[in-house]
Symmetry: C2
Subunit: 226 residues, 2 copies
């Protein structure tokens, strides 16, 4: 029975990858670089985007906002006067705990791709399943809040391995936590040695400049800029 289950899961992931490639072709055709932003609930993805996308020099950015329900984050990001599109997994997708390529494909007609250089897809808050489903992105970023504790890379290794950049957020809280950031970084290196990482605080803005530079460079790096 487990063998059957594994095969069904593999078939589903194969089908997902086929659709992800179709998404990627569409993004490439319009010259849009795509970032998949993932984290646990409440790690600070939206607040980081509020900080970083408010002033992204020379790059036209937009957001595809993934949530089970509601449009709370999309409403916040719309205040930046950039294109923001809501994608709810509870609307026709069974309330899934992650975005997959088919959901993102369903949103493509609603995206103003000709007006964008960079699309940030903010995934559902979850450290497990989002890492398993490519959606057609060029790069994957995950945010880990120091308030979640230093053991998270060891407990959710697939997520920490899937990313090109790890943002260690809420460092302004470090004086008030028992968490040891050096041990967190050592645990990160244990599962994804040498992966790019930045220490940031979306609340104070510390380190957000470096993240903004990284985002700004994505279109040129992937050759997507028109």
């Amino acid at each position: 029975m487990h063998g059957t289950k594994v095969r069904v899961v593999e078939d589903a992931l194969d089908a997902n990858n086929t659709i992800a490639r179709a998404n990627r072709d569409d993004f490439d055709r319009h010259g849009v670089a795509v970032v998949n932003l993932m984290s646990a609930p409440g790690a600070g993805k939206t607040r980081l985007l509020e900080r970083a996308l408010a002033d992204l020099p020379g790059v036209r950015a937009g957001v595809l906002e993934g949530d089970v329900a509601g449009s709370f984050d999309a409403d916040r990001l719309s205040l930046l006067h950039i294109p923001v599109t809501q994608l709810n997994t509870g609307a026709g997708f069974g309330g899934e705990c992650h975005l997959d390529a088919n959901m993102v494909r369903s949103a493509i007609p609603s995206l103003p791709l000709d007006e964008l250089d960079l699309l940030v897809i903010e995934n559902v808050g979850n450290l497990v399943c989002p890492a398993e489903f490519r959606v057609g992105e060029d790069a994957r970023i995950m945010v880990c809040s120091v308030a979640e504790g230093e053991d998270k890379p060891l407990k959710y290794p697939l997520m920490f391995r899937a990313c090109e950049l790890v943002l260690i957020n809420k460092i302004d809280l470090l004086p008030h936590l028992d968490a040891d950031v050096d041990r967190l970084l050592a645990n990160l290196d244990a599962v994804n040695p040498g992966v790019a990482r930045m220490l940031v605080s979306a609340r104070t803005g510390e380190g957000v400049g470096a993240f903004r530079e990284w985002l700004t460079a994505v279109p040129a790096r992937v050759g997507a800029a028109a």
Copy 2:
């Protein structure tokens, strides 16, 4: 296609509920009350258990520890000298993001049910799927850290509706956060009006006494005590 998907999901949940009832019968036969403890990653489930189960008067407690990978939390809880059993979803269950009734059923032969009055099942850290799968429990508790922000009940309503008790944890951090705990509680009441809630800090121990009393009363309340 969506209709088919919904039917498959409903069938899977029906099958899960059948197995959950079988688990429940086994737990009842041994006079064990069962609590399903859920939260986002890093909300403090394990630390709350370290505090609460260290001194549970008159109740023999044990833990079934659910994780995708590793036994970090089980190792910590074993120091309490109570029975702790590890259940990994990555071992034969495809790395699932939640526990289901079948996984818990597979662990029952490893549980010392005759030695327990109360079994706490610590679920995988995730605010979506764990709420959909009963595992044979008598009560469901969820932990929400104030560091996750005040909007979580609105974004993950199913989880907050599924529980008999909500623990608002890490209140020692409130002076260092922008989070408004009154708004968090109002959002909680918006999705689950009047649900029992406790403000706690697993770090300082504040409020943990009330949680310990609640846990202590579970076996008598559900009539499970031998």
